[in-house]
């Protein structure tokens, strides 16, 4: 395990979706850490600080509370949120809670990948993250 390799934390309760995302994100050349629900996601954060968290919203131990907890445990990890047919209220709340990108499912994978790339490039990241990224690279 290369400690310098970029880590993507992928949190998704649906195994097919998770599998799809793993396959799709593989070519980004990052290490993908998977989690099946909110609790598992928090465990994985303590194992390895992810460079970006791509997470579902509605899943066991999920929801906006979970997003808030993620922010607490990994204040420097940008969060990309996906949710099935999310509504405007959720979107607004999520963005207010520190989420960098928000996608309604079904999400175009190309769009998602673009967003992840941008986050990893640091062009749209907060200062902490950008510094961290530059250190790691």
């Amino acid at each position: 395990m290369d400690p310098n390799q970029t880590v993507i934390l992928l949190v998704e309760d649906d195994s097919e979706m998770r599998s799809l995302l793993c396959d799709e994100l593989w070519d980004l050349g990052c290490r993908i850490v998977e989690a099946r629900d909110g609790d598992e996601a928090l465990q994985r954060i303590s194992d390895a600080r992810p460079d970006v968290i791509v997470t579902d919203l509605r899943m066991p131990a999920g929801g906006l509370d979970y997003v808030a907890r993620l922010r607490t445990f990994a204040p420097n990890s940008p969060i990309i949120l996906m949710t099935a047919f999310g509504d405007a209220t959720t979107k607004a709340a999520a963005l207010k809670g520190g989420v960098v990108a928000y996608f309604d499912k079904p999400v175009r994978l190309a769009d998602l990948k673009t967003a992840i790339r941008r986050v990893l490039d640091g062009s749209h990241l907060g200062n902490g993250q950008a510094a961290q990224n530059s250190e790691e690279t």
């Binding site: 799809l20 099935a84 047919f85």
Partner: protein
């Protein structure tokens, strides 16, 4: 007496016979003394009864030969026999002739007696006049009729008994009659002859005249009958008939009562009548054509009581009160002065009673006289007749009034009833059409009277059903119900629920059908709206619940397809994958719209200017309008109040409607947008001149997923969203469309805050 007379005659005749016999004895037989016996035979016949006369003659017959036997001889035996035989023959012939003559005299006497008897005892007056018209016969009936004794009449001219104005005509008549050969004729065929009594009273009579010629002299006999009573009775009957006719033809009650008074007054000169009507315990003037106005005013409103003149007392006692002398009668104590002022001495009053309700007094009939007087038999009859007639008239009028009140009441109920009431005759023609019907149909009763409902009020597809329901009523006469549309005069349809029943005539067959209906158009619309709202709410809940479950699998499908698409170079596979992606996107689009609807955020109302919203919207679609060659026409009422609504959502509504309108006019057309205050709110209308929609489509356009657009072109949720937003605003949306002519959407929105009903979001 008779005996004595007979005996005397017998003695005389006997003596005569004896004398003749003695003479015969003294004269020789040759001389025909026997002939003398004809004298006693004749006398016997005249003076004695028939049997005795025959016996006397027989005695004479015996004496003739006996005398011859004892007479001294003289002449030849032949002579002697001959004169004795001749004597016998003469005696018998004398007897026979005498008898015959006597019989003839007797017959004549009997006949004369009989005629005299008839003339004397005849009920009719018989007067005979000679050619000079001097009276030669005047029977007792004539004496009574003309109040003139026969002695005074005989020898007088007939003119004395004829009213002066008829005298010449009468003389002419008799003279003319004398020239004809007619023996008997009725006089004055029309019964218009009058007689003149000794006291100067004229009276109607009926007469016939006959003529005989005796000894070259003409004798005219007239037979007269006093028809005063009959004429009076006829006049009364005619008067009664005239009054009944007045009642039947619906003349006003005062006129009828006046006529009754006049008829009675004509019967009795110097008498004045009044009819008072009892209302509660007071008497009011019904009619008194000849009573002085001041008197009428004085007694109008008289309270009845036990001693209130004649009328007040009669009405109170419910029995006739005949006051024959007012100045002395205690009943008139309080009114004596009044009576004196107007000169009344007698007043007979009889209550007019109801023929229907026992003991109910309708009024009084009174007769006033200026002299003290008691009623006679004839008066009682007249009073009875007058009260009967007045009773009928009053009751009839009251009945009519009650009937009219009842009719007016029913008509008023019918008119003010909220229900539609249509009455049809056996041909299905309208005979009644109340105000509710006029309001529901837009037609006035005058326009539809006599028309058949199926000729103009029904929609063609329901015609048969309605006719069947009515056919059922005619044939079975049983109440039924049905529901159908009425097409208003302006073309709008109203849904009406009918409850039908029939009116039977006296023969038990159906005469009228009464249909009572309720206009349920609004109720139905509300029900429909409620149903739609409920369905939408359910749909929203369902959609929200499903969204998460569907989102991920769709994402997997789409993502996998994209993933594979990037890793294949085979065209057919690429094409297939592209289709999968496109279809998932289509589902996504539908889901998103549904969720937009289901998760509408609570409306945020603020005062807003819809004119600006319209302008913004038209800006957005400007390109498309040009592309479709659609002209835009806007009309805004001035001044235009602000509405209380959510500007974003209003934009969404307007955009939806405008885009729909553009799509309905692929060949171009005119888009009209209008704003005007209506009632407590604002009316926004969006009209196109496009293809329009049939009624079945109109009913469904707000339903979710209903679309007339090509598959994939529309989600079928646009108007559902519009509808939802308008409803959230407490507004209403209506659509009118004529296929081929265009469609108009009208939206009513509240102006003031008080009218808004809060923006409760649908459950998400």
């Amino acid at each position: 007496m008779q005996e004595n007379k007979t005996s005397t005659a017998l003695f005389l005749i006997g003596s005569l016979c004896a004398g003749i016999f003695i003479l015969d004895l003294m004269i020789p037989t040759g001389i025909a003394i026997g002939m003398l016996y004809a004298l006693p035979a004749f006398l016997a016949c005249r003076m004695l009864p028939c049997r005795e006369a025959v016996l006397v003659t027989l005695g004479c017959t015996l004496l003739i030969p006996l005398g011859a036997h004892f007479s001294p001889a003289g002449g030849t035996p032949w002579m002697y026999v001959t004169n004795r035989v001749l004597s016998v023959m003469v005696v018998w012939i004398t007897l026979g002739l005498a008898f015959q003559r006597q019989r003839a005299q007797e017959i004549q006497a009997t006949s004369e007696n009989r005629l005299e008897g008839i003339v004397q005892s005849a009920m009719d007056a018989i007067i005979s006049v000679d050619a000079d018209q001097r009276i030669v016969l005047f029977n007792p009936a004539a004496e009574r009729m003309f109040q003139c004794r026969a002695e005074d009449a005989l020898g007088e001219k007939l003119d004395r008994f004829i009213p002066e104005r008829f005298r010449t005509a009468h003389r002419e008549h008799i003279r003319h009659f004398g020239l004809t050969n007619v023996t008997t004729r009725r006089m004055g065929q029309l019964g218009k002859i009058s007689g003149l009594r000794a006291d100067g009273e004229e009276f109607p009579l009926e007469a016939s005249i006959s003529q005989v010629e005796i000894g070259g002299k003409k004798l005219f006999s007239v037979i007269l009958r006093d028809i005063t009573q009959r004429v009076r009775a006829e006049e009364l009957a005619a008067g009664q008939k005239a009054i009944l006719e007045m009642m039947v033809t619906g003349m006003p009650l005062p006129d009828i009562l006046s006529q009754i008074c006049l008829m009675m007054e004509a019967r009795s000169p110097g008498m004045t009548c009044s009819i008072l009507l009892l209302e509660g315990t007071r008497l009011h003037l019904g009619a008194a054509p000849h009573l002085p106005e001041g008197y009428n005013q004085a007694i109008d409103g008289l309270e009845i009581g036990s001693s209130v003149g004649s009328c007040g007392t009669a009405a109170f006692r419910k029995e006739p009160v005949f006051v024959t002398d007012i100045p002395t009668d205690p009943l008139w104590a309080d009114y004596r002065k009044l009576a004196k002022t107007y000169g009344f001495r007698a007043c007979w009053s009889t209550p007019i009673v109801s023929s229907r309700e026992r003991g109910m007094v309708l009024g009084t009939f009174a007769m006033y006289y200026r002299d003290s007087r008691s009623p006679k038999e004839e008066d009682h009859r007249l009073i009875e007749m007058a009260t009967n007639l007045a009773g009928i008239a009053i009751e009839r009028k009251r009945g009519e009034e009650a009937l009219k009140r009842e009719r007016d009441f029913i008509a008023a109920v019918l008119q003010t009833a909220g229900a539609l009431v249509v009455v049809l005759d056996t041909e299905g023609r309208i005979v009644r059409f109340n105000r509710a019907c006029e309001q529901a149909s837009g037609y006035r009763f005058e326009e539809v009277k006599g028309q058949r409902v199926w000729d103009f009020l029904l929609v063609p597809e329901e015609m048969e059903g309605v006719k069947a329901a009515f056919e059922d009523l005619w044939t079975k006469g049983l109440p039924n119900t049905h529901e159908n549309f009425w097409v208003r005069k302006d073309g709008e349809r109203r849904r009406i629920v009918w409850s039908n029943t029939v009116i039977l005539n006296l023969r038990g067959s159906v005469e009228h059908v009464i249909a009572t209906g309720l206009d349920v158009t609004e109720v139905k619309q509300m029900q429909e709206q409620l149903r739609r709202t409920e369905r939408l709410a359910e749909l929203g809940t369902l959609a929200s619940g499903m969204a998460h479950e569907i989102g991920t699998p769709m994402n997997v499908i789409q993502g996998r397809a994209e993933y594979l698409l990037q890793r294949t170079t085979e065209e057919p596979i690429k094409k297939g994958l592209a289709t999968i992606i496109a279809q998932v996107e289509r589902i996504t689009k539908i889901m998103n719209q549904l969720l937009t609807f289901a998760r509408r955020r609570p409306i945020e109302r603020k005062p807003m200017d819809l004119k600006k919203t319209i302008a913004d919207c038209l800006d957005i679609v400007q390109e498309r309008l040009k592309q479709h060659r659609v002209e835009v026409e806007t009309s805004y009422a001035e001044p235009l109040p602000l509405v209380h609504a959510d500007p974003d959502q209003m934009s969404q509504v307007l955009l939806n409607l405008v885009l729909n309108a553009i799509q309905a006019m692929p060949e171009g057309g005119r888009l009209s947008l209008a704003l005007e205050p209506e009632g407590p709110g604002m009316k926004l209308s969006v009209a196109d001149t496009g293809s329009g929609m049939p009624a079945e489509t109109l009913n469904k356009i707000f339903d979710p997923f209903f679309t007339t657009k090509d598959v994939g072109a529309g989600t079928g949720l646009g108007l559902t969203v519009v509808h939802g937003i308008v409803e959230d605003h407490g507004g209403a949306i209506h659509v009118y469309s004529v296929p081929g002519r265009g469609t108009t959407f009208t939206i009513h929105l509240p102006i003031h805050r008080e009218f808004s009903q809060g923006g409760e979001d649908l459950p998400a």
